[in-house]
């Protein structure tokens, strides 16, 4: 029984995009609805349902699944959506190069008895492989509309919109949908009648790169090269040159003096601003300590520090205006500190990281890295797949805590989330840490990397043993290596930046307001005195850095930026040894309040509380150990 649904009834139905992982569902969703969702070249990019409107159709994008008996949480989400929308039109998206596997899922979906359209996507890649597909024959065999598309090039989208109204229930002989060998046999029969794939005789550069990326020797060389490029691009260019230009050049030389002048004019009270020397250097970095200087300039500018003139004769209004003035442009001002930190320090670092990360995601390299590190991850009770959320955590730990859904067991999710919260610095913090690395010796930098990796392995190993429960098998599909598409890379970077700034700027402003309040009440000094045994005694850091840890509770990158200022800023107070201790402590801090909320949402409040209660004392403990042992080792 095949029924073509009428236009009126179809327009009332939701449309669900389903398909195997990494076949282009999200690209199709973006093209159909005009709504941007993150798209990457590895399975497990989408972990939540995205909704959008295509004409009068309500379109839902779902995480990929290989069959209807799902093993992971993200695939369970898809099955739940299929159950929830019993009247939905199913649009199955298939990779043209891997039609056989898609047809196994088609047969399972056919058993649900819903109207379907099959989209055969990535037809251009099939052409490159020398493949041919008889679309009409396939449509006859399945008795549903089949639409060939190249979603990235917008080809076939219009036809798909038309075909949505002609969706039909597939006519396939009834089989046990759990009998996978039988489903594969039938998929082979269908493929034999309408599909031809000739393997190319010569491997392309992308294919060769894909093979090298998983081989023992070349794979590690490639991984080292990727790390080196990341260090240069994010640590030296983003966190070094771009931050210098924006912080000293734009904010220090133009925006801050302008803001001070405007606020002085609007809120006058008797005071005099100090002046400071502002240096801006534009250089091409070659190593952490060397670079080719292109341009440099020195100028004297107005400082945020000011001296009050005759405060004993001030009226109440003078005091109020001084308070408002300092709240905006003082040393803890919303413009001179919060916006300067968020836009001049965090923004260039995060932009450079997300740009590079998007390129890596789209290239298909990340699953290959998972293959390389599988053995190491096994020692932590995890498997290679866990490296995907951990690398994503280098971008943003909050997003990464949600991506742990691609892992199969709760034990793996808990251990990965713990390691994310403990030892994976987010992009803002990573950039700051890489910039701080330039202040310490090479041996100390190696010590820091080794220590953080060691902490990851030991804590992961212990957590896996204490948690109990089973791990999962490492079975991972490797997507083809592709050349990244620049429009997608830029769109993805902008989308992430928007998300990040929405989260960062309000938190930075709140953190600065808290610091301002504490400073005005004189509590900052008092709290520094309370924490002196911990900060000065145990960690061996100057009293001024206590504030960094205080606001580090809110966001650890904010604390890290504060420390960076103390380490490399104009009034540097930290010695190389103290920089190392500060780096270790702040790296092991909880990422931010938002991550804690996300862990609570994903794993429950007990796990979130347990992780937080472990992370904070452990960070201080390790910092102290490094201070005492590092001092003894002479680092």
């Amino acid at each position: 029984m095949s029924t073509t649904i009428t236009a009126t009834s179809a327009r009332e139905r939701p449309v669900i995009l389903v398909g195997n992982p990494n076949v282009g569902k999200s690209v199709l969703f973006t093209k159909l609805t005009g709504k941007f969702v993150i798209i990457s070249n590895y399975p497990g990019t989408t972990v939540e349902i995205a909704r959008g409107q295509c004409g009068e159709f309500h379109v839902l994008d779902t995480p990929g699944l290989n069959d209807l008996t799902p093993a992971t949480d993200d695939a369970r989400v898809t099955c739940a959506v299929l159950r929830e929308h019993a009247d939905a039109v199913l649009v199955q998206v298939a990779d043209a190069k891997n039609l056989r596997r898609a047809l196994v899922l088609t047969q399972q979906l056919a058993a649900l008895g819903r109207p379907m359209v099959l989209v055969v996507n990535m037809l251009d890649e099939l052409d490159q492989c020398g493949g041919k597909l008889d679309v009409r024959r396939l449509s006859e065999l399945l008795s549903i509309p089949v639409v060939p598309t190249i979603a990235t090039a917008n080809t076939g989208i219009h036809l798909l919109k038309q075909q949505l109204e002609h969706a039909r229930v597939p006519m396939l002989p009834a089989t046990d949908t759990r009998d996978l060998p039988a489903l594969w046999r039938r998929a082979n029969d269908i493929v034999a009648q309408c599909y031809r794939l000739t393997r190319p005789h010569r491997a392309t550069v992308a294919q060769k790169l894909g093979w090298w990326a998983t081989q023992p020797g070349r794979g590690w060389i490639l991984a080292a090269a990727v790390l080196a490029v990341m260090f240069w691009f994010v640590g030296l260019l983003g966190a070094g040159v771009a931050v210098d230009l924006l912080e000293s050049g734009l904010f220090g030389r133009h925006l801050n003096p302008l803001a001070i002048r405007v606020v002085d004019a609007l809120l006058p009270f008797p005071h005099e601003h100090q002046r400071e020397v502002n240096e801006v250097t534009l250089k091409l970095p070659l190593t952490p300590t060397h670079g080719v200087t292109v341009w440099e300039s020195t100028r004297e500018v107005v400082s945020t520090e000011h001296e009050s003139v005759g405060p004993e004769h001030w009226t109440r209004w003078d005091h109020a205006r001084r308070l408002a003035h300092d709240f905006l442009v003082g040393p803890y001002g919303q413009i001179t500190m919060a916006l300067s930190y968020a836009l001049a320090i965090v923004l260039p670092i995060v932009t450079s990281f997300f740009l590079l990360f998007s390129v890596l995601e789209d290239s298909g390299y990340l699953p290959r890295l998972a293959v390389m590190v599988n053995r190491l991850m096994r020692r932590m009770g995890l498997n290679g797949k866990a490296v995907l959320p951990m690398i994503l955590g280098l971008g943003c730990d909050t997003m990464a805590a949600m991506t742990t859904r691609i892992l199969e067991t709760r034990k793996e999710r808990v251990v990965t989330t713990l390691l994310l919260a403990l030892a994976v610095p987010c992009s803002a913090q990573l950039g700051v840490l890489l910039a701080m690395l330039t202040r310490i010796s090479f041996a100390a930098a190696l010590f820091w990397v080794g220590l953080i990796t060691g902490v990851c392995v030991v804590v992961g190993w212990l957590a896996a043993r204490l948690h109990g429960g089973a791990g999962s098998d490492f079975i991972m599909e490797l997507p083809p290596m592709r050349r990244p598409q620049w429009d997608n890379v830029i769109a993805k970077t902008l989308a992430r930046l928007k998300w990040y700034l929405w989260e960062v700027v309000p938190l930075f402003m709140a953190g600065t307001a808290v610091l301002f309040g504490l400073h005005e009440l004189g509590w900052l000094e008092r709290m520094a005195a309370w924490t002196e045994p911990l900060v000065t005694g145990w960690l061996g850091l100057p009293r001024e850095t206590a504030a960094a840890f205080l606001i580090g509770f809110l966001r650890r990158d904010y604390g890290a930026v504060y420390l960076l200022d103390a380490a490399t800023g104009p009034a540097a107070v930290l010695t190389a040894h103290q920089v190392l201790v500060a780096m270790v402590t702040i790296t092991l801090f909880m990422p931010c309040v938002a991550t804690l909320f996300m862990i609570h949402r994903e794993l429950g409040w007990r796990t979130a509380a347990a992780i937080a209660l472990f992370v904070f004392p452990f960070a201080f403990f390790m910092g102290g150990v490094v201070h005492h042992v590092g001092g003894w080792l002479g680092l």
Partner: protein, 144 residues
């Protein structure tokens, strides 16, 4: 030392150690029963002396019999083979592999063994860890 058996039901040649009933059985090597990893047929394994006598009389080959199965790890990188069975009692694992097309009878190419196994089944490239790869019993191309 490998002890080659031949299933009287499907004719599959396999090592005694690959018999699924060997795992976790308290009788272990003292049991004379064997179970075919491909069809599950249980049969009495011929005694050692009888196998030795057949070899002496040249009624059976000295080494691995033609058409015998081997582990994926026994293959050379780049070799193409046919999957005979996934020799595991773990149903979930069997299912996880089947969704990628790793079902008995499928053709697969071993691309690399280290640091993890990478195989190609049709158009899918799949990475597996060592423990899973050793459970894949395959038949060499020359034996197909």
């Amino acid at each position: 030392m490998k002890r080659w058996l031949e299933c009287p039901n499907c004719g599959l040649g396999f090592d005694r150690a690959d018999s699924p009933c060997q795992r976790g059985c308290p009788l272990g090597r003292w049991c004379d029963l064997a179970c075919c990893p491909a069809c599950g047929h249980e049969f009495a394994a011929p005694p050692r002396w009888w196998q030795w006598w057949r070899r002496v009389r040249r009624h059976s080959p000295v080494g691995q019999p033609t058409g015998a199965v081997c582990h994926l790890g026994d293959l050379q990188e780049g070799e193409t083979t046919e999957l005979v069975c996934v020799n595991t009692a773990n149903e979930h694992r069997r299912h996880s592999l089947a969704v990628y097309g790793l079902v008995p009878g499928c053709e697969l190419t071993l691309q690399q063994k280290r640091p993890a196994y990478v195989i190609r089944i049709g158009e899918t490239e799949l990475a597996l860890e060592h423990a899973i790869a050793t459970e894949l019993l395959v038949r060499r191309r020359s034996a197909i």
